[in-house]
């Protein structure tokens, strides 16, 4: 059975109140959603919370899913929107705080402060944070999940050629950033 057909069956069972079926879907997609939310917010804890919330929201909204076979892409869409709301809220809060207390304004999602790790991995993550969101997404899905280009394409609803293009650009940019940093 293809993943799409399996998803459709699990969605159908979930809609009939079978929570274990939804648990299976969560099992299968948890890491992928976490990869996407991590790419968006770059904070481990927040990424985990947001991924979890995305699943609960998906469960609640399951009836509005039109093509059950494309559950993955739909779920990723929910996760992305949740992250965008979250980022906006954080920004608003940071601005309000800065306006009220005259605290020096901090970029809420700036990678520098959060990833104060001196090792190579820290530097890599920091560099990752300076890339655009679309580049981070493909990189994280590729390196955290080891997804094939076709799988990434399906999940993000883009073409395989676009996946390759983004990965190439992302890696070239990372290379430049890391080179500049070490000079």
């Amino acid at each position: 059975m293809s993943q799409g057909a399996r998803d459709a069956e699990l969605v159908r069972r979930s809609l009939n109140g079978d929570r274990a079926a939804f648990g299976e879907l969560a099992e299968h997609y948890a890491r992928q959603v976490a990869a996407v939310t991590y790419a968006m917010v770059q904070d481990r804890e927040k990424a985990r919370d947001l991924a979890q919330e995305s699943f609960l929201q998906a469960y609640e909204a399951l009836r509005s899913l039109r093509e059950a076979a494309r559950f993955g892409a739909w779920l990723v869409g929910i996760a992305r929107r949740r992250c965008i709301y979250h980022i906006r809220r954080e920004r608003r809060r940071a601005r309000a705080l800065a306006a009220r207390a005259e605290v020096p304004r901090e970029e809420p999602l700036g990678p520098a402060g959060r990833m104060a790790r001196s090792d190579d991995e820290g530097r890599l993550l920091e560099a990752l944070g300076t890339l655009g969101r679309r580049y981070r997404e493909v990189l994280v899905l590729r390196h955290f999940e080891g997804k094939s280009y076709a799988e990434i394409a399906e999940l993000l609803e883009i073409s395989v050629a676009t996946v390759e293009k983004r990965l190439t650009r992302a890696r070239n940019k990372l290379r430049e950033i890391l080179k500049d940093g070490s000079d």
Binding site: R31, A34, Y38, A51, F55, A61, L167, T168
Partner: protein, 196 residues
């Protein structure tokens, strides 16, 4: 920049067919720049796999999600109508309120109770109740939809679930009723009696 250098990513990820793979390999053998780039990207890729993998390794979302589900069934987690729709709902309620207040100003405040016959007064009060109900549909659609879902779940069995579409329908109904009752109110108060 050689054409092969654009495909280094696909090469590293094992996404190339055998013929192309061979072509890239041959190119790298004779091109130190691309060979260096390949090495860079490879070590960078390994580093990323380690870094991100280490970060998210213990993410046990699936179990937590499953644990979260039964609770959700009991309390029905409500996603509040967010952003623009919520603001529009408040704007609609605000406009209705403005109309109501304005109609009092136009008709003169003293007229409200003294100048109306009893049936018009009754209609006015009933209409106010409808307005309040419609406003609550408009502003808290998720709560109303949740009550409705519980009702249907009770009648038909199964678990109550609210979709975004149902919330929108509730809101739409609220909007229509609020509009009609506002028009009716203005007619009552300024038309000095029932319009029919």
């Amino acid at each position: 920049m050689s054409p092969e250098s654009g495909r280094l990513s696909a090469f590293i990820d094992g996404e190339l067919g055998p013929a192309e793979r061979r072509r890239v390999q041959e190119h790298i053998a004779g091109c130190p720049r691309c060979a260096e780039k390949l090495e860079d990207i490879k070590s960078q890729a390994d580093g990323l796999s380690r870094a991100i993998g280490g970060l998210l390794l213990h993410v046990d979302i699936a179990r937590k999600v499953e644990e979260g589900l039964p609770e959700q069934r009991k309390s029905m987690v409500m996603v509040r109508t967010q952003g623009i729709r919520r603001r529009l709902a408040f704007a609609g309620a605000g406009v209705a309120l403005a109309f109501v207040l304005f109609s009092f100003v136009v008709s003169g405040p003293g007229y409200l109770l003294s100048g109306m016959n009893q049936s018009a007064q009754a209609a006015l009060f009933l209409n106010w109740a409808i307005m309040i109900a419609a406003t609550s549909l408009l502003v808290w659609p998720e709560k109303i939809a949740a009550v409705e879902a519980r009702f249907w779940a009770f009648m038909r069995g199964g678990s109550p679930r609210v979709s975004a579409r149902e919330r929108m329908i509730v809101q739409g109904v609220g909007l229509v009723f609020l509009f009609l009752s506002t028009v009716f109110h203005v007619m009552l108060v300024t038309g000095r009696g029932l319009p029919f």
